[in-house]
């Protein structure tokens, strides 16, 4: 290991140093400041004679005399099952005062892509206990389903509720589940201390910490470190899932902060910026995180990801949600209007989507009527939403009886189906029954997305009259 005192330039998070021996791309670097502080960084570009280094902890205190050591290896995450229950900082060092971590293995954090041929298609239903998700945008094991939120919306409550309640219903009776346990990996990037406390308190209150690994990069921690935190979290997740057979749920929050960090590094490197100043390779970079979800043939475990991102200005065409949506398998969208109406969780199902839903539901998985019910509720709610605009102009009286039923449906959908509170855990049966309660408000002939036999089986013959009377 060679030491240099050859720093020629320090600019933002970057340090340039002259070297007389070749240095590998992505290699880890230690920089010792004259005050004796050791900072860690990573090689961003390696040329004959000069390297540029991205420093994780910020470049404060570095001067021309700081010494630079190249460790000759790329960044590794020490992994072991004992990480469960531990709290680490954004660079993977324990901050919970617990014992030092004795790793089983040290794994490269730049994960290798899973061979698409070796993947197993995700189709195991995860019951989150949240109707708007289970009923309308079903999550399955191995999926990556982000929460698109905005500043000030209760995405953390929703994430915690999912982490608390998520189960696979058949598990209790199933006999194949002896080896596989559930684990939560929580990767925080640039969240505030307060938010962090909220998460930690909930983890401790519910005893979830025991089966969790927490990575904390807080708002006042160096921004560059944020580019490493999710990779540490996902490397740990892959280890637990594919080596130790855990079903791992990874919650990453907040992806927006991660992307800001990417932009900061890009700007410091004077790269040609893409849309809104974010680097042109952001799609590839995000894909390297999100694609680390999945199942592998022949392995018990799975990695399911719920990344959270706050859309700047609630704009889903902003590059961060936009690129995310193109990579992830759907999205759960939080809605400001629903939130101000007091709907908990304020999930707007219309722009939400789960791409893997169709294969994870139906007979034998959830219930035979699930797909049709969900389709019909989507169509009916969308129609009701449209009519609301019209009501604002012409008033309710001007609408036909049929239209009024759709309006009532939309209202009750929000108040009874989406609304449930953060502590209510609904089974998929509960969710679908509420669905039928609502659909039975509509005349049978309008249920054109549902198979006739299913209508026979579930349609409530009595209730529509009662509902109509009260609606009049």
């Amino acid at each position: 290991m060679k030491e240099y005192q050859t720093i020629t330039e320090v600019s933002g998070p970057l340090v340039f140093a002259e070297v007389d021996e070749p240095v590998g791309y992505d290699e880890i670097v230690e920089i010792e400041t004259p005050e004796g502080e050791t900072l860690r960084g990573q090689v961003l570009e390696s040329s004959e004679g000069i390297v540029s280094i991205q420093v994780f902890e910020g470049t404060g205190g570095i001067d021309r005399n700081a010494s630079v050591r190249f460790l000759g290896e790329t960044m590794k995450m020490p992994v072991t099952e004992d990480l469960l229950g531990r709290v680490l900082d954004g660079s993977g060092n324990p901050i919970d005062g617990g014992p030092e971590i004795v790793p089983d293995e040290r794994v490269d954090i730049v994960g290798e892509a899973i061979n698409p041929y070796s993947r197993e298609y995700p189709e195991e239903f995860i019951q989150t206990g949240v109707s708007a998700i289970d009923g309308m945008n079903t999550l399955v094991r191995g999926q990556k389903l982000p929460i698109f939120s905005g500043s000030g919306l209760p995405h953390n409550e929703l994430a915690l509720q999912i982490a608390r309640q998520a189960t696979v219903p058949e598990e209790e009776e199933g006999d194949d589940e002896d080896g596989s346990e559930f684990a939560v990996i929580f990767g925080a990037m640039g969240i505030t201390q307060e938010e962090a406390n909220e998460f930690m308190q909930d983890f401790e209150r519910t005893g979830a910490l025991e089966r969790s690994v927490v990575f904390m990069n807080l708002a006042d921690d160096p921004a560059v470190e944020r580019t490493v935190t999710p990779r540490l979290a996902l490397t740990t997740a892959e280890y637990l899932a594919f080596e130790k057979d855990y079903h791992v749920l990874v919650i990453l929050t907040d992806i927006t902060n991660y992307c800001e960090a990417l932009r900061e590094i890009g700007a410091a490197r004077e790269e040609v910026p893409g849309r809104r100043g974010y680097p042109g390779y952001m799609y590839t970079d995000l894909a390297q995180l999100y694609e680390r979800a999945g199942r592998i043939e022949g392995r018990e475990g799975s990695v399911t990801q719920i990344p959270i991102l706050t859309m700047p200005g609630d704009d889903d065409t902003h590059p961060i949600p936009d690129l995310t949506g193109y990579i992830t398998e759907g999205q759960i969208v939080m809605d400001r209007d629903l939130n101000s109406q007091g709907i908990e969780p304020p999930i707007n199902v219309l722009p939400s989507l789960s791409r893997l839903m169709d294969d994870g539901i139906g007979e034998g998985l959830t219930r035979a009527d699930h797909g049709d019910v969900s389709d019909q509720m989507y169509a009916a709610y969308a129609e009701g939403e449209d009519l609301r605009d019209l009501v604002n102009i012409v008033g309710r009286e001007a609408l036909s009886e049929r239209d009024n039923k759709f309006l009532d449906f939309a209202d009750r959908f929000e108040e009874e189906f989406a609304q449930q509170g953060y502590d209510t855990n609904r089974t998929i049966e509960d969710t679908l029954e509420i669905g039928w309660d609502l659909l039975s408000m509509l005349p049978k002939e309008e249920l054109n997305r549902i198979g006739e036999d299913l209508i026979e089986e579930h349609y409530r013959e009595e209730e529509p009259e009662a509902a109509e009377v009260s609606a009049d």
Binding site: Y25, N115, R119, Y121, E291, N448
Partner: protein, 587 residues
Amino acid sequence: MSQAEDIETVDEDGVIESVSGPVVTAADLDARMNDVVYVGDEGLMGEVIEIEGNLTTIQVYEETSGVGPGEPVENTGEPLSVDLGPGMLNAIYDGVQRPLDVLEEKMGTAFLDRGVDAPGIDFEKEWEFEPTVDEGDAVEPGDVIGEVPETASITHKVMVPPDSDGGEVTSIEAGEFTVDEPVAELDSGEEITMHQEWPVREARPAEEKETPTIPLVSGQRILDGLFPIAKGGTAAIPGPFGSGKTVTQHQLAKWADADIVVYVGCGERGNEMTEVIEDFPELEDPKTGKPLMSRTCLIANTSNMPVAARESCIYTGITIAEYFRDMGYDVALMADSTSRWAEAMREISSRLEEMPGEEGYPAYLAASLSEFYERAGLFQNINGTQGSVSVIGAVSPPGGDFSEPVTQNTLRIVKTFWALDADLAERRHFPSINWNESYSLYRQQLDPWFRENVEEDWPEVRQWAVDVLDEEDELQEIVQLVGKDALPEDQQLTLEVARYLREAWLQQNAFHDVDTYCDPKKTYRMLQAIKTLNDEAFEALDAGVPVDEIANVDAAPRLNRMGTAEEWNEFIDELESDLEEQIRSLY
């Protein structure tokens, strides 16, 4: 450095000068543009993309972590090529034609390791070769000399390579051969094997490009019915995320009546490719009843696989498609998504510090796109057969904004445009192709085929549907202001008919066993049934029946069940006569 005598002495191997992500610069490398090189101690595969003075810039198809200056670069002296021959169907490749199943076996892990090479076709396997020419026959480049039963549905034609000189066949015989063993010998001494190599960035030669007149029937009502694509045509499917690009592409790959399907998953999701790999072997070709996989070649370069290989996967796909076209097959190539391909170009270009064009894309974006789409078409091949390559490219415009460069440059080239609509997707109207924005410039040249093979008045009935949908679009604007009941009765009726057009005809459930594929004849009859409702209803209206009564006849909602009806001929017969009877009984 660049004196002539130096070049003589310079070793072909170079040395890495710098590394930045997928872009590596090497010194002292004696290479031509687009040569394939092996980079570093691990021998990572790369391609020369720029030469400047003594420095050669290389895009590397694998992850470059840990690679540093001073490591060697070895030149193969060959441009990036694909191996062509029997064994490509039923296969799944990465962006540089390495079979993913072989990689899994060689690497011994489910993760993609580096520095492992694998040929695109199996060199060990023996194929049954049956000659179609005799000794003494004269053959020219491109000529078919024999056949190999490759899969259940496809016979592989063994051709004289296009770059051969041809000549008289001096020996040829039937038997079991590996792809590298000569199956024939020409009087020039040239030995012909079943294996050809072809550089991916170069189109395979053809005699002539012709005007396509036969539709690529997709079994999707909105496509066959309103916006058909020709065999040998080009189409673009742009749409924001979640609007159903991939499902539409999958549907086309499953049901399009092409002989061969090349599916390129370019920078998309891993799980989606897995779905294709798991689903296709179980699905049957509606025409032949054989497994779909036996006519399919998959290329999967998912979003987290190296970006340079994403740039090349489109070319790998189209070259394979052209090879099958040369055999006289109709090939359909689906590229999902061309935006990811353009982004890969942008990423490489920005690492090269090239002057950016619009939105950071390289200035040659338009040229690359048109070059790619121009490789599609109906061709007279050099061996006299006729074959086609149809290209259907998905486009993923950022924020769903169609004015961005990739969509715009694509639209300048393609002749069919299927605009996906997030609004429709949100209300679960699938396929969410917007009928007001989409178009097909092939309609007229395909009309004769539809008249002959489906129904004589197909174009007229279609025009009727288009008119009703157009009228609905205009009426909806008024309805938004004053409500439906304020419209005159005939317009209310038009809205009702249009609703059935949308819900019963345009909508199609890709996940329903019956509805997923709709024969063009069924497409026509379903449309005709809605027209029956229309014609009967307007007559009743003229006779003074109120619109509410007409709209509420029992039979009408049954129109919505036509798509899922298995015995559709009987179902529609009965429905039409019920509609007639019930509406006529009102007056």
